[in-house]
Protein backbone atom coordinates (compact mmCIF):
# COMPACT_ATOMS: atom_id res chain seq x y z
CA UNK A 1 0.00 0.00 0.00
CA UNK A 2 2.98 2.28 -0.42
CA UNK A 3 1.12 4.08 -3.22
CA UNK A 4 -1.28 5.60 -0.72
CA UNK A 5 1.57 6.56 1.56
CA UNK A 6 3.35 8.42 -1.19
CA UNK A 7 0.11 10.11 -2.07
CA UNK A 8 -0.35 11.20 1.54
CA UNK A 9 3.22 12.50 1.80
CA UNK A 10 2.84 14.34 -1.47
CA UNK A 11 -0.38 15.92 -0.28
CA UNK A 12 1.26 16.93 2.97
CA UNK A 13 4.03 18.79 1.18
CA UNK A 14 1.48 20.23 -1.20
CA UNK A 15 -0.39 21.73 1.74
CA UNK A 16 2.82 23.08 3.23
CA UNK A 17 3.69 24.74 -0.08
CA UNK A 18 0.16 26.11 -0.17
CA UNK A 19 0.52 27.65 3.28
CA UNK A 20 3.85 29.23 2.50
CA UNK A 21 2.82 30.45 -0.93
CA UNK A 22 -0.29 32.01 0.55
CA UNK A 23 1.70 33.70 3.27
CA UNK A 24 4.21 34.98 0.73
CA UNK A 25 1.53 36.35 -1.58
CA UNK A 26 -0.13 37.91 1.40
CA UNK A 27 3.07 39.65 2.47
CA UNK A 28 4.27 40.82 -0.89
CA UNK A 29 0.95 41.83 -2.40
CA UNK A 30 0.67 45.43 -3.48
CA UNK A 31 -3.05 45.48 -3.16
CA UNK A 32 -5.06 44.67 -0.10
CA UNK A 33 -7.30 42.29 -2.00
CA UNK A 34 -4.41 40.20 -3.25
CA UNK A 35 -3.11 39.83 0.23
CA UNK A 36 -6.53 38.72 1.40
CA UNK A 37 -6.45 36.17 -1.38
CA UNK A 38 -3.07 35.02 -0.10
CA UNK A 39 -4.62 34.62 3.33
CA UNK A 40 -7.38 32.50 1.86
CA UNK A 41 -4.86 30.25 0.09
CA UNK A 42 -2.83 29.89 3.24
CA UNK A 43 -5.88 28.95 5.26
CA UNK A 44 -6.80 26.42 2.61
CA UNK A 45 -3.44 24.81 3.25
CA UNK A 46 -4.09 24.77 6.98
CA UNK A 47 -7.41 23.03 6.38
CA UNK A 48 -5.49 20.53 4.29
CA UNK A 49 -3.16 19.86 7.20
CA UNK A 50 -6.11 19.05 9.42
CA UNK A 51 -7.28 16.64 6.75
CA UNK A 52 -3.85 15.07 6.61
CA UNK A 53 -3.92 14.64 10.37
CA UNK A 54 -7.03 12.54 9.97
CA UNK A 55 -9.80 14.91 10.89
CA UNK A 56 -11.78 15.87 7.81
CA UNK A 57 -14.38 17.35 10.10
CA UNK A 58 -11.96 19.92 11.45
CA UNK A 59 -10.65 20.59 7.97
CA UNK A 60 -14.09 21.40 6.64
CA UNK A 61 -15.03 23.45 9.68
CA UNK A 62 -11.82 25.42 9.27
CA UNK A 63 -12.69 25.99 5.62
CA UNK A 64 -16.25 27.04 6.41
CA UNK A 65 -15.30 29.46 9.14
CA UNK A 66 -12.45 30.96 7.20
CA UNK A 67 -14.61 31.63 4.19
CA UNK A 68 -16.74 33.77 6.41
CA UNK A 69 -13.67 35.51 7.82
CA UNK A 70 -12.10 36.15 4.44
CA UNK A 71 -15.34 37.45 3.01
CA UNK A 72 -15.70 39.92 5.84
CA UNK A 73 -12.13 41.06 5.24
CA UNK A 74 -12.86 41.41 1.52
CA UNK A 75 -15.90 43.53 2.26
CA UNK A 76 -13.90 45.73 4.61
CA UNK A 77 -11.04 45.86 2.14
CA UNK A 78 -13.34 47.11 -0.58
CA UNK A 79 -15.13 49.63 1.59
CA UNK A 80 -12.33 50.94 3.80
CA UNK A 81 -9.15 50.13 1.93
CA UNK A 82 -7.38 52.39 -0.54
CA UNK A 83 -8.43 52.41 -4.16
CA UNK A 84 -6.34 50.12 -6.35
CA UNK A 85 -4.62 52.98 -8.17
CA UNK A 86 -3.69 54.57 -4.84
CA UNK A 87 -2.28 51.38 -3.43
CA UNK A 88 0.28 51.07 -6.20
CA UNK A 89 2.34 54.04 -5.02
CA UNK A 90 3.63 52.54 -1.83
CA UNK A 91 6.52 54.24 -0.13
CA UNK A 92 9.26 51.80 0.79
CA UNK A 93 10.43 52.06 4.40
CA UNK A 94 13.82 53.67 5.05
CA UNK A 95 16.73 51.46 4.21
CA UNK A 96 18.14 51.39 7.72
CA UNK A 97 14.83 50.20 9.15
CA UNK A 98 14.59 47.54 6.50
CA UNK A 99 18.04 46.24 7.34
CA UNK A 100 17.24 46.23 11.04
CA UNK A 101 13.96 44.44 10.47
CA UNK A 102 15.59 41.85 8.25
CA UNK A 103 18.30 41.31 10.85
CA UNK A 104 15.81 40.88 13.67
CA UNK A 105 13.67 38.47 11.68
CA UNK A 106 16.64 36.41 10.58
CA UNK A 107 18.01 36.23 14.10
CA UNK A 108 14.67 35.18 15.53
CA UNK A 109 14.05 32.55 12.89
CA UNK A 110 17.59 31.23 13.22
CA UNK A 111 17.12 30.88 16.98
CA UNK A 112 13.79 29.14 16.57
CA UNK A 113 15.04 26.85 13.82
CA UNK A 114 18.11 25.91 15.77
CA UNK A 115 16.17 25.07 18.91
CA UNK A 116 13.42 23.25 17.07
CA UNK A 117 15.86 21.13 15.11
CA UNK A 118 17.89 20.32 18.19
CA UNK A 119 14.94 19.16 20.19
CA UNK A 120 14.22 15.45 20.40
CA UNK A 121 10.47 15.45 19.96
CA UNK A 122 9.03 12.61 21.99
CA UNK A 123 5.80 11.60 20.38
CA UNK A 124 2.96 11.66 22.85
CA UNK A 125 1.41 8.39 23.84
CA UNK A 126 -1.41 7.88 21.40
CA UNK A 127 -4.21 8.48 23.82
CA UNK A 128 -6.96 8.55 21.29
CA UNK A 129 -7.12 6.67 18.06
CA UNK A 130 -10.12 8.33 16.56
CA UNK A 131 -10.88 11.91 15.73
CA UNK A 132 -14.51 11.29 14.99
CA UNK A 133 -17.13 13.89 15.57
CA UNK A 134 -18.43 11.91 18.51
CA UNK A 135 -15.07 12.04 20.21
CA UNK A 136 -14.67 15.76 19.47
CA UNK A 137 -18.09 16.48 20.87
CA UNK A 138 -17.39 14.52 24.00
CA UNK A 139 -14.08 16.23 24.67
CA UNK A 140 -15.60 19.64 24.06
CA UNK A 141 -18.43 19.05 26.47
CA UNK A 142 -16.48 17.12 29.10
CA UNK A 143 -12.77 17.71 29.35
CA UNK A 144 -12.88 21.15 27.79
CA UNK A 145 -16.30 22.31 28.86
CA UNK A 146 -14.97 25.40 30.60
CA UNK A 147 -12.96 26.73 27.63
CA UNK A 148 -15.91 25.86 25.42
CA UNK A 149 -18.21 28.01 27.52
CA UNK A 150 -15.61 30.75 27.79
CA UNK A 151 -15.45 30.93 24.01
CA UNK A 152 -19.13 31.78 23.95
CA UNK A 153 -18.60 34.56 26.49
CA UNK A 154 -15.68 35.81 24.45
CA UNK A 155 -17.74 35.88 21.27
CA UNK A 156 -20.58 37.64 23.04
CA UNK A 157 -18.20 40.30 24.33
CA UNK A 158 -16.70 40.68 20.89
CA UNK A 159 -20.10 41.06 19.23
CA UNK A 160 -21.40 43.60 21.73
CA UNK A 161 -18.13 45.50 21.58
CA UNK A 162 -18.11 45.57 17.79
CA UNK A 163 -21.71 46.76 17.63
CA UNK A 164 -21.06 49.54 20.09
CA UNK A 165 -17.88 50.70 18.42
CA UNK A 166 -19.73 50.81 15.13
CA UNK A 167 -22.34 52.93 16.84
CA UNK A 168 -19.71 55.34 18.15
CA UNK A 169 -18.73 56.05 14.58
CA UNK A 170 -22.32 56.95 13.91
CA UNK A 171 -22.43 59.46 16.77
CA UNK A 172 -19.34 61.06 15.35
CA UNK A 173 -20.97 61.44 11.96
CA UNK A 174 -24.01 63.13 13.45
CA UNK A 175 -22.16 65.72 15.44
Amino acid sequence: MSFYRYLAEGLFFGFIVCIFAGAFISLRARQLMNSVLGLAISLLGVAGLFYHLGSPFLALMELLINIGVVCVVIAFGIMVGPKPDQAAEKRPPPKRNRMLAAGACLAASALLLWTVLNTPWNPAIARIGDFTIRHLGESLLHQFCLPFELISILLLVAIIGALIIARIGRYGARE
Binding site: A124, C145, L146, L150, L154, V157
Partner: protein
Protein backbone atom coordinates in the same frame (compact mmCIF):
# COMPACT_ATOMS: atom_id res chain seq x y z
CA UNK B 1 -21.51 23.45 47.96
CA UNK B 2 -20.36 23.98 44.38
CA UNK B 3 -22.02 27.37 44.05
CA UNK B 4 -19.78 28.83 46.73
CA UNK B 5 -16.69 27.96 44.72
CA UNK B 6 -17.78 30.18 41.89
CA UNK B 7 -19.47 32.87 43.94
CA UNK B 8 -17.26 35.84 42.88
CA UNK B 9 -17.49 34.89 39.21
CA UNK B 10 -21.23 34.45 39.38
CA UNK B 11 -21.66 37.79 41.09
CA UNK B 12 -19.62 39.47 38.38
CA UNK B 13 -21.77 37.78 35.76
CA UNK B 14 -24.80 39.14 37.55
CA UNK B 15 -23.31 42.63 37.48
CA UNK B 16 -22.65 42.30 33.76
CA UNK B 17 -26.20 41.11 33.17
CA UNK B 18 -27.71 43.97 35.13
CA UNK B 19 -25.82 46.49 33.05
CA UNK B 20 -26.69 44.63 29.90
CA UNK B 21 -30.34 45.23 30.64
CA UNK B 22 -29.61 48.83 31.63
CA UNK B 23 -28.01 49.31 28.24
CA UNK B 24 -31.23 48.33 26.50
CA UNK B 25 -33.12 51.42 27.57
CA UNK B 26 -32.37 54.98 28.58
CA UNK B 27 -30.78 55.14 32.00
CA UNK B 28 -29.78 58.09 34.15
CA UNK B 29 -26.12 58.43 35.03
CA UNK B 30 -26.89 58.74 38.73
CA UNK B 31 -28.87 55.52 38.80
CA UNK B 32 -26.13 53.78 36.90
CA UNK B 33 -23.52 55.08 39.22
CA UNK B 34 -25.34 53.94 42.32
CA UNK B 35 -25.99 50.56 40.76
CA UNK B 36 -22.35 50.17 39.82
CA UNK B 37 -21.13 51.16 43.25
CA UNK B 38 -23.58 48.84 44.95
CA UNK B 39 -22.91 45.89 42.69
CA UNK B 40 -19.15 46.26 42.89
CA UNK B 41 -19.36 46.19 46.67
CA UNK B 42 -21.53 43.10 46.33
CA UNK B 43 -18.81 41.51 44.19
CA UNK B 44 -16.22 42.34 46.81
CA UNK B 45 -18.45 40.82 49.48
CA UNK B 46 -18.86 37.72 47.34
CA UNK B 47 -15.11 37.44 46.88
CA UNK B 48 -14.60 37.75 50.63
CA UNK B 49 -17.34 35.20 51.28
CA UNK B 50 -15.66 32.76 48.96
CA UNK B 51 -12.31 33.28 50.62
CA UNK B 52 -11.67 29.91 52.20
CA UNK B 53 -13.07 27.80 49.41
CA UNK B 54 -10.95 25.13 47.84
CA UNK B 55 -11.57 22.79 45.01
CA UNK B 56 -10.87 21.64 41.51
CA UNK B 57 -13.59 22.22 38.98
CA UNK B 58 -14.43 21.40 35.38
CA UNK B 59 -12.20 18.37 34.89
CA UNK B 60 -9.03 19.87 36.39
CA UNK B 61 -9.21 23.04 34.35
CA UNK B 62 -10.24 25.41 37.10
CA UNK B 63 -8.55 25.55 40.45
CA UNK B 64 -10.01 27.39 43.38
CA UNK B 65 -7.48 27.80 46.19
CA UNK B 66 -6.37 30.39 48.68
CA UNK B 67 -4.08 31.96 46.08
CA UNK B 68 -6.83 32.49 43.53
CA UNK B 69 -9.32 33.64 46.14
CA UNK B 70 -6.86 36.20 47.49
CA UNK B 71 -6.38 37.56 43.99
CA UNK B 72 -10.12 37.64 43.46
CA UNK B 73 -10.47 39.79 46.56
CA UNK B 74 -7.76 42.16 45.35
CA UNK B 75 -9.34 42.32 41.89
CA UNK B 76 -12.84 43.03 43.13
CA UNK B 77 -11.42 45.57 45.58
CA UNK B 78 -9.74 47.23 42.62
CA UNK B 79 -13.01 47.21 40.67
CA UNK B 80 -14.76 48.81 43.65
CA UNK B 81 -12.16 51.48 44.04
CA UNK B 82 -12.01 52.35 40.33
CA UNK B 83 -15.78 52.64 40.19
CA UNK B 84 -15.93 54.71 43.38
CA UNK B 85 -13.09 56.95 42.31
CA UNK B 86 -14.68 57.82 38.98
CA UNK B 87 -18.28 58.73 39.79
CA UNK B 88 -20.34 60.14 36.97
CA UNK B 89 -17.95 58.93 34.28
CA UNK B 90 -17.21 62.44 33.09
CA UNK B 91 -14.81 61.32 30.40
CA UNK B 92 -17.15 58.81 28.82
CA UNK B 93 -19.65 59.43 26.05
CA UNK B 94 -23.02 59.74 27.70
CA UNK B 95 -24.92 57.15 25.66
CA UNK B 96 -22.24 54.58 26.35
CA UNK B 97 -22.16 54.65 30.13
CA UNK B 98 -24.20 51.49 30.79
CA UNK B 99 -22.06 49.60 28.31
CA UNK B 100 -18.98 51.00 29.98
CA UNK B 101 -19.93 49.42 33.29
CA UNK B 102 -20.94 46.25 31.47
CA UNK B 103 -17.48 45.92 30.00
CA UNK B 104 -15.79 46.76 33.30
CA UNK B 105 -17.67 43.87 34.87
CA UNK B 106 -16.82 41.53 32.01
CA UNK B 107 -13.16 42.50 32.07
CA UNK B 108 -13.01 41.83 35.79
CA UNK B 109 -14.77 38.54 35.24
CA UNK B 110 -12.07 37.56 32.75
CA UNK B 111 -9.39 38.48 35.24
CA UNK B 112 -10.92 36.49 38.08
CA UNK B 113 -11.16 33.53 35.72
CA UNK B 114 -7.53 34.06 34.86
CA UNK B 115 -6.47 33.90 38.49
CA UNK B 116 -8.08 30.47 38.84
CA UNK B 117 -7.44 29.04 35.40
CA UNK B 118 -5.40 25.88 35.56
CA UNK B 119 -5.23 24.87 31.91
CA UNK B 120 -3.57 26.58 28.98
CA UNK B 121 -6.67 27.09 26.83
CA UNK B 122 -8.66 28.37 29.76
CA UNK B 123 -5.85 30.79 30.55
CA UNK B 124 -5.80 32.03 26.97
CA UNK B 125 -9.56 32.50 26.80
CA UNK B 126 -9.86 34.27 30.13
CA UNK B 127 -7.07 36.60 29.11
CA UNK B 128 -8.85 37.32 25.85
CA UNK B 129 -12.18 37.98 27.56
CA UNK B 130 -10.62 40.68 29.67
CA UNK B 131 -8.68 42.03 26.70
CA UNK B 132 -11.73 42.23 24.42
CA UNK B 133 -13.68 44.12 27.02
CA UNK B 134 -10.83 46.60 27.27
CA UNK B 135 -10.58 47.04 23.50
CA UNK B 136 -14.19 48.05 23.57
CA UNK B 137 -13.99 50.63 26.34
CA UNK B 138 -10.95 52.57 25.22
CA UNK B 139 -12.74 54.34 22.38
CA UNK B 140 -15.64 55.25 24.69
CA UNK B 141 -13.95 58.51 25.52
CA UNK B 142 -15.86 61.69 24.97
CA UNK B 143 -15.79 62.79 21.34
CA UNK B 144 -15.19 66.45 22.06
CA UNK B 145 -11.67 65.60 23.17
CA UNK B 146 -9.02 65.08 20.60
CA UNK B 147 -9.24 61.83 18.73
CA UNK B 148 -6.30 60.20 20.45
CA UNK B 149 -8.51 57.60 22.05
CA UNK B 150 -9.15 56.00 18.68
CA UNK B 151 -5.43 55.74 18.05
CA UNK B 152 -5.01 54.25 21.51
CA UNK B 153 -7.75 51.71 20.88
CA UNK B 154 -6.34 50.62 17.52
CA UNK B 155 -2.84 50.31 18.91
CA UNK B 156 -4.00 48.41 21.93
CA UNK B 157 -5.96 46.04 19.72
CA UNK B 158 -3.30 45.40 17.09
CA UNK B 159 -0.43 44.86 19.48
CA UNK B 160 -2.60 42.75 21.70
CA UNK B 161 -3.29 40.54 18.71
CA UNK B 162 0.44 40.17 18.17
CA UNK B 163 0.97 39.40 21.84
CA UNK B 164 -1.71 36.72 21.69
CA UNK B 165 0.02 35.30 18.65
CA UNK B 166 3.25 35.03 20.61
CA UNK B 167 1.39 33.49 23.52
CA UNK B 168 -0.17 30.85 21.31
CA UNK B 169 3.12 30.14 19.59
CA UNK B 170 4.76 29.61 22.95
CA UNK B 171 1.86 27.45 24.09
CA UNK B 172 2.25 25.26 21.03
CA UNK B 173 5.86 24.54 21.97
CA UNK B 174 4.99 23.91 25.60
CA UNK B 175 2.18 21.60 24.54
CA UNK B 176 4.36 19.85 22.01
CA UNK B 177 6.99 19.10 24.62
CA UNK B 178 4.78 18.52 27.62
CA UNK B 179 1.93 16.72 25.81
CA UNK B 180 -0.73 18.34 27.93
CA UNK B 181 -2.51 21.59 28.41
CA UNK B 182 -3.37 20.93 32.03
CA UNK B 183 -1.05 22.77 34.38
CA UNK B 184 -1.38 19.91 36.83
CA UNK B 185 0.15 17.50 34.30
CA UNK B 186 2.66 19.99 32.97
CA UNK B 187 3.99 20.47 36.49
CA UNK B 188 5.40 16.94 36.35
CA UNK B 189 7.15 17.22 33.01
CA UNK B 190 8.03 20.86 32.58
CA UNK B 191 10.75 21.40 35.25
CA UNK B 192 12.92 18.70 33.70
CA UNK B 193 12.25 19.95 30.19
CA UNK B 194 13.21 23.48 31.13
CA UNK B 195 16.65 22.26 32.11
CA UNK B 196 17.31 20.00 29.16
CA UNK B 197 15.52 21.56 26.24
CA UNK B 198 16.28 25.08 25.09
CA UNK B 199 13.03 24.98 23.18
CA UNK B 200 11.04 24.73 26.40
CA UNK B 201 12.68 27.93 27.58
CA UNK B 202 11.92 29.65 24.27
CA UNK B 203 8.33 28.47 24.42
CA UNK B 204 7.92 29.56 28.02
CA UNK B 205 9.39 32.99 27.33
CA UNK B 206 7.07 33.50 24.37
CA UNK B 207 4.16 32.33 26.49
CA UNK B 208 5.08 34.77 29.21
CA UNK B 209 5.54 37.58 26.67
CA UNK B 210 1.81 37.42 26.00
CA UNK B 211 1.27 38.29 29.64
CA UNK B 212 4.07 40.84 29.75
CA UNK B 213 2.05 42.82 27.27
CA UNK B 214 -0.63 43.32 29.88
CA UNK B 215 1.94 43.91 32.56
CA UNK B 216 3.79 46.45 30.37
CA UNK B 217 7.11 44.73 30.92
CA UNK B 218 10.09 45.50 28.74
CA UNK B 219 9.81 43.81 25.38
CA UNK B 220 6.08 44.46 25.23
CA UNK B 221 5.95 47.86 26.88
CA UNK B 222 6.20 50.30 24.01
CA UNK B 223 2.62 51.30 23.48
CA UNK B 224 1.64 51.70 27.14
CA UNK B 225 2.18 55.50 27.18
CA UNK B 226 0.05 56.05 24.08
CA UNK B 227 -2.74 53.88 25.40
CA UNK B 228 -2.77 55.54 28.82
CA UNK B 229 -2.67 58.98 27.30
CA UNK B 230 -5.44 58.28 24.82
CA UNK B 231 -7.89 56.59 27.16
CA UNK B 232 -10.27 58.44 29.39
CA UNK B 233 -9.02 59.03 32.94
CA UNK B 234 -11.30 56.47 34.51
CA UNK B 235 -10.46 53.91 31.83
CA UNK B 236 -6.76 54.43 32.38
CA UNK B 237 -7.08 53.90 36.09
CA UNK B 238 -8.68 50.55 35.32
CA UNK B 239 -6.24 49.50 32.60
CA UNK B 240 -3.24 50.55 34.64
CA UNK B 241 -4.09 48.44 37.65
CA UNK B 242 -6.42 45.48 37.41
CA UNK B 243 -5.07 43.59 34.36
CA UNK B 244 -1.60 43.73 35.85
CA UNK B 245 -2.75 42.13 39.08
CA UNK B 246 -4.50 39.29 37.25
CA UNK B 247 -1.51 38.77 35.02
CA UNK B 248 0.87 38.65 37.97
CA UNK B 249 -1.29 35.90 39.41
CA UNK B 250 -0.95 33.76 36.31
CA UNK B 251 2.73 34.54 35.90
CA UNK B 252 3.38 33.44 39.47
CA UNK B 253 1.46 30.24 38.80
CA UNK B 254 3.43 29.51 35.66
CA UNK B 255 6.83 30.40 37.07
CA UNK B 256 6.27 28.34 40.20
CA UNK B 257 5.23 25.49 37.93
CA UNK B 258 8.50 25.65 36.07
CA UNK B 259 10.38 25.54 39.34
CA UNK B 260 13.35 27.33 40.78
CA UNK B 261 15.90 25.36 38.81
CA UNK B 262 15.27 27.02 35.47
CA UNK B 263 18.29 29.31 35.56
CA UNK B 264 17.99 30.47 31.98
CA UNK B 265 14.44 31.65 32.50
CA UNK B 266 15.53 33.56 35.60
CA UNK B 267 18.25 35.22 33.57
CA UNK B 268 15.92 36.27 30.83
CA UNK B 269 13.42 37.60 33.34
CA UNK B 270 16.19 39.51 35.09
CA UNK B 271 17.23 41.18 31.84
CA UNK B 272 13.61 42.10 31.13
CA UNK B 273 13.19 43.49 34.63
CA UNK B 274 16.31 45.66 34.46
CA UNK B 275 15.53 46.96 30.99
CA UNK B 276 11.98 47.67 32.00
CA UNK B 277 12.97 49.63 35.09
CA UNK B 278 15.62 51.61 33.32
CA UNK B 279 13.56 52.51 30.27
CA UNK B 280 10.51 53.32 32.36
CA UNK B 281 12.31 55.55 34.80
CA UNK B 282 14.47 57.39 32.28
CA UNK B 283 11.57 58.13 29.95
CA UNK B 284 9.36 59.24 32.81
CA UNK B 285 11.84 61.97 33.69
CA UNK B 286 10.93 64.10 30.69
CA UNK B 287 7.17 63.64 30.65
CA UNK B 288 4.79 66.50 31.14
CA UNK B 289 1.45 64.74 30.74
CA UNK B 290 0.60 63.12 34.06
CA UNK B 291 -0.92 60.00 32.54
CA UNK B 292 2.09 59.47 30.30
CA UNK B 293 4.28 59.84 33.34
CA UNK B 294 2.27 57.27 35.23
CA UNK B 295 2.47 54.98 32.20
CA UNK B 296 6.25 55.03 32.23
CA UNK B 297 6.19 54.65 35.99
CA UNK B 298 4.03 51.54 35.57
CA UNK B 299 6.60 50.12 33.13
CA UNK B 300 9.23 50.63 35.82
CA UNK B 301 7.06 49.03 38.47
CA UNK B 302 6.49 46.02 36.25
CA UNK B 303 10.24 45.61 36.44
CA UNK B 304 10.32 45.74 40.25
CA UNK B 305 7.56 43.23 40.64
CA UNK B 306 9.28 40.89 38.20
CA UNK B 307 12.25 40.82 40.54
CA UNK B 308 9.99 39.32 43.17
CA UNK B 309 8.67 36.77 40.70
CA UNK B 310 12.04 35.70 39.37
CA UNK B 311 13.31 34.96 42.85
CA UNK B 312 11.06 31.88 42.65
CA UNK B 313 10.71 31.37 46.35
CA UNK B 314 7.91 31.70 48.77
CA UNK B 315 8.92 35.10 50.04
CA UNK B 316 9.48 36.39 46.52
CA UNK B 317 5.99 35.42 45.38
CA UNK B 318 4.45 36.75 48.56
CA UNK B 319 6.37 39.97 48.08
CA UNK B 320 5.11 40.23 44.51
CA UNK B 321 1.51 39.84 45.68
CA UNK B 322 2.02 42.42 48.39
CA UNK B 323 3.73 44.73 45.92
CA UNK B 324 0.85 44.49 43.49
CA UNK B 325 -1.63 45.32 46.23
CA UNK B 326 0.47 48.37 47.07
CA UNK B 327 0.74 49.28 43.40
CA UNK B 328 -3.02 49.11 43.08
CA UNK B 329 -3.60 51.43 46.01
CA UNK B 330 -0.89 53.96 45.11
CA UNK B 331 -1.78 54.14 41.45
CA UNK B 332 -5.45 54.46 42.21
CA UNK B 333 -4.61 57.27 44.59
CA UNK B 334 -2.85 59.15 41.78
CA UNK B 335 -5.63 58.47 39.27
CA UNK B 336 -8.24 59.45 41.84
CA UNK B 337 -6.60 62.85 42.14
CA UNK B 338 -6.35 63.22 38.35
CA UNK B 339 -10.00 62.33 37.90
CA UNK B 340 -11.14 64.76 40.57
CA UNK B 341 -9.05 67.58 39.12
CA UNK B 342 -10.02 67.07 35.49
CA UNK B 343 -13.47 68.59 35.48
CA UNK B 344 -14.02 67.87 31.79
CA UNK B 345 -12.19 64.57 31.73
CA UNK B 346 -9.21 66.13 29.97
CA UNK B 347 -5.58 65.09 30.27
CA UNK B 348 -3.64 66.90 32.97
CA UNK B 349 -0.13 68.28 32.96
CA UNK B 350 2.05 69.52 35.81
CA UNK B 351 0.58 73.01 35.39
CA UNK B 352 -2.82 71.80 36.49
CA UNK B 353 -1.40 70.77 39.84
CA UNK B 354 -0.24 74.23 40.86
CA UNK B 355 -1.61 75.42 44.15
CA UNK B 356 -3.33 72.15 44.77
CA UNK B 357 -2.45 72.18 48.47
CA UNK B 358 -4.64 75.22 48.86
CA UNK B 359 -7.37 74.38 46.42
CA UNK B 360 -7.91 70.88 47.73
CA UNK B 361 -5.71 69.87 50.64
CA UNK B 362 -7.01 66.32 50.73
CA UNK B 363 -6.23 65.72 47.07
CA UNK B 364 -2.75 67.16 47.46
CA UNK B 365 -2.19 64.93 50.44
CA UNK B 366 -3.44 61.82 48.65
CA UNK B 367 -1.29 62.62 45.63
CA UNK B 368 1.72 63.06 47.89
CA UNK B 369 1.05 59.76 49.61
CA UNK B 370 0.72 58.04 46.26
CA UNK B 371 3.88 59.61 44.89
CA UNK B 372 5.89 58.86 48.03
CA UNK B 373 4.61 55.33 47.89
CA UNK B 374 5.56 54.88 44.25
CA UNK B 375 9.02 56.21 45.04
CA UNK B 376 9.36 53.83 47.94
CA UNK B 377 9.70 56.19 50.85
CA UNK B 378 8.81 54.84 54.29
CA UNK B 379 6.33 54.48 55.92
CA UNK B 380 4.23 53.86 52.86
CA UNK B 381 3.23 50.53 51.38
CA UNK B 382 5.57 51.18 48.46
CA UNK B 383 8.60 51.13 50.70
CA UNK B 384 7.64 47.90 52.40
CA UNK B 385 6.85 46.31 49.06
CA UNK B 386 10.19 47.22 47.55
CA UNK B 387 11.99 46.15 50.69
CA UNK B 388 10.33 42.74 50.58
CA UNK B 389 11.03 42.25 46.90
CA UNK B 390 14.68 43.15 47.30
CA UNK B 391 15.02 40.89 50.32
CA UNK B 392 13.67 38.00 48.32
CA UNK B 393 16.13 38.70 45.51
CA UNK B 394 19.03 38.98 47.97
CA UNK B 395 18.12 35.62 49.45
CA UNK B 396 18.64 34.09 46.05
CA UNK B 397 21.89 36.00 45.63
CA UNK B 398 20.83 38.38 42.85
CA UNK B 399 23.05 41.20 44.17
CA UNK B 400 23.64 43.03 40.88
CA UNK B 401 19.95 43.02 40.17
CA UNK B 402 19.13 44.57 43.53
CA UNK B 403 21.80 47.22 43.14
CA UNK B 404 20.47 48.19 39.72
CA UNK B 405 16.93 48.28 41.10
CA UNK B 406 17.96 50.54 43.97
CA UNK B 407 19.72 52.94 41.60
CA UNK B 408 16.56 52.98 39.53
CA UNK B 409 14.46 53.77 42.58
CA UNK B 410 16.69 56.73 43.23
CA UNK B 411 16.21 57.99 39.69
CA UNK B 412 12.48 57.59 39.99
CA UNK B 413 12.42 59.73 43.12
CA UNK B 414 13.12 62.71 40.89
CA UNK B 415 9.93 62.65 38.90
CA UNK B 416 7.66 61.42 41.66
CA UNK B 417 8.81 64.22 43.88
CA UNK B 418 8.30 66.62 41.00
CA UNK B 419 4.63 65.70 41.30
CA UNK B 420 4.63 66.51 45.00
CA UNK B 421 6.51 69.74 44.40
CA UNK B 422 4.05 70.83 41.76
CA UNK B 423 1.19 70.22 44.14
CA UNK B 424 2.78 71.99 47.06
CA UNK B 425 4.56 74.90 45.39
CA UNK B 426 3.44 78.13 47.11
CA UNK B 427 1.30 80.33 44.90
CA UNK B 428 0.48 83.98 45.07
CA UNK B 429 -3.07 83.85 43.80
CA UNK B 430 -5.07 80.78 44.63
CA UNK B 431 -7.04 79.22 41.81
CA UNK B 432 -10.60 78.08 42.16
CA UNK B 433 -10.92 75.49 44.85
CA UNK B 434 -12.05 71.97 44.08
CA UNK B 435 -15.11 70.80 45.94
CA UNK B 436 -15.26 67.16 46.84
CA UNK B 437 -18.38 65.16 47.48
CA UNK B 438 -18.58 63.22 50.73
CA UNK B 439 -17.96 59.96 48.94
CA UNK B 440 -14.87 61.36 47.21
CA UNK B 441 -13.60 62.67 50.53
CA UNK B 442 -14.07 59.35 52.23
CA UNK B 443 -12.43 57.54 49.33
CA UNK B 444 -9.44 59.89 49.50
CA UNK B 445 -9.14 59.31 53.21
CA UNK B 446 -9.44 55.57 52.69
CA UNK B 447 -6.68 55.53 50.07
CA UNK B 448 -4.46 57.71 52.21
CA UNK B 449 -4.98 55.58 55.29
CA UNK B 450 -4.55 52.30 53.50
CA UNK B 451 -1.32 53.36 51.82
CA UNK B 452 0.21 54.28 55.13
CA UNK B 453 -1.37 51.64 57.37
CA UNK B 454 -0.61 48.74 55.07
CA UNK B 455 2.94 50.05 54.93
CA UNK B 456 3.35 50.21 58.67
CA UNK B 457 1.58 46.98 59.49
CA UNK B 458 2.39 44.60 56.63
CA UNK B 459 2.63 41.40 58.71
CA UNK B 460 -0.97 40.30 58.33
CA UNK B 461 -1.05 40.81 54.58
CA UNK B 462 2.32 39.18 54.04
CA UNK B 463 1.43 36.18 56.17
CA UNK B 464 -1.74 35.82 54.12
CA UNK B 465 0.17 36.12 50.88
CA UNK B 466 2.64 33.48 52.00
CA UNK B 467 -0.13 31.14 52.94
CA UNK B 468 -1.72 31.77 49.55
CA UNK B 469 1.54 30.96 47.79
CA UNK B 470 1.78 27.73 49.79
CA UNK B 471 -1.74 26.78 48.80
CA UNK B 472 -0.76 26.85 45.13
CA UNK B 473 1.12 23.61 45.59
Amino acid sequence: MQMMLLLPELTLCLMALVFFFCALGPCKTDTLNNLASGLSVLCLAAAVAGFNQEGMLFFQTYRVDLFSQLFKIILTLGLCLTIWSGPGLRGIEEQLRPEYYLFLAVATLGMTLLSSAHELLTILLSLEISAFALFAIIPFRHQTMRREHLEAAIKYFLFSAIATGLLLYGMSYVFGLGHSTLLGELAQTLPALMQNEPLAVVGMVMLLCGFFYKLALFPMHFLTPDVYEGSANETTSFIATLPKIAVIAIIIRLVSLVGAEAVSLTWILAVFAVMSMTIGNLCALVQNDLKRLLAYSSIAHAGYVTIGVLSVNQIGFAAAIYYMLGYLLMNLACFFVIYQLAAEGENLTFDHLHGLYRRAPLLACTLAAGAFGLTGIPPTIGFTGKFMVFTAALQRGHYTLVILAVINSAISAFYYLKLVRAAYRPMAESGESVTLSWSATSLGLFLLASIILAGILPQGIIALAQEAVNSMG
